[in-house]
Symmetry: C2
Subunit: 72 residues, 2 copies
């Protein structure tokens, strides 16, 4: 899954290590998520979003996720 993590890190001039420490994971986890090796868990996604002061949907790209909506 594409994310805006690397972009936000560069904008704020922080390393993967610094972000990793702030959100409680290893630097390799941040690398893997940025490189789309795997998708962040819900809790980690939230922590990253809050760290950058925004929402999960603003950082993680769900455009390829197909969704149904409830009928009213």
């Amino acid at each position: 899954m594409k994310t805006r993590i690397a972009e936000l890190r560069k904008k704020h001039k922080i390393t993967q290590e610094e972000l990793a420490m702030a959100v409680g994971v290893t630097r390799q986890t941040i690398t893997s998520i940025e490189r789309e090796k795997y998708t962040a868990s819900l809790v980690l996604a939230y922590k990253i979003a809050k760290y950058f002061g925004t929402t999960i949907e603003d950082i993680f790209d769900f455009s390829e996720v197909e969704v149904e909506e409830i009928k009213k």
Copy 2:
């Protein structure tokens, strides 16, 4: 993790089975998430949120998640 899934299901009068089918998981997965047996994955959380026409943060309760914020 607490969620508002059961509440929204009741409000809209749909069963766990119906929600499960709509978001592409088994009925037992919905049960497990409602009963807090485990936390939904990011993609599933998004699908459920979109199904009910709202945001992840509105359905899943992150109040117990500790977060750091970037220093400006």
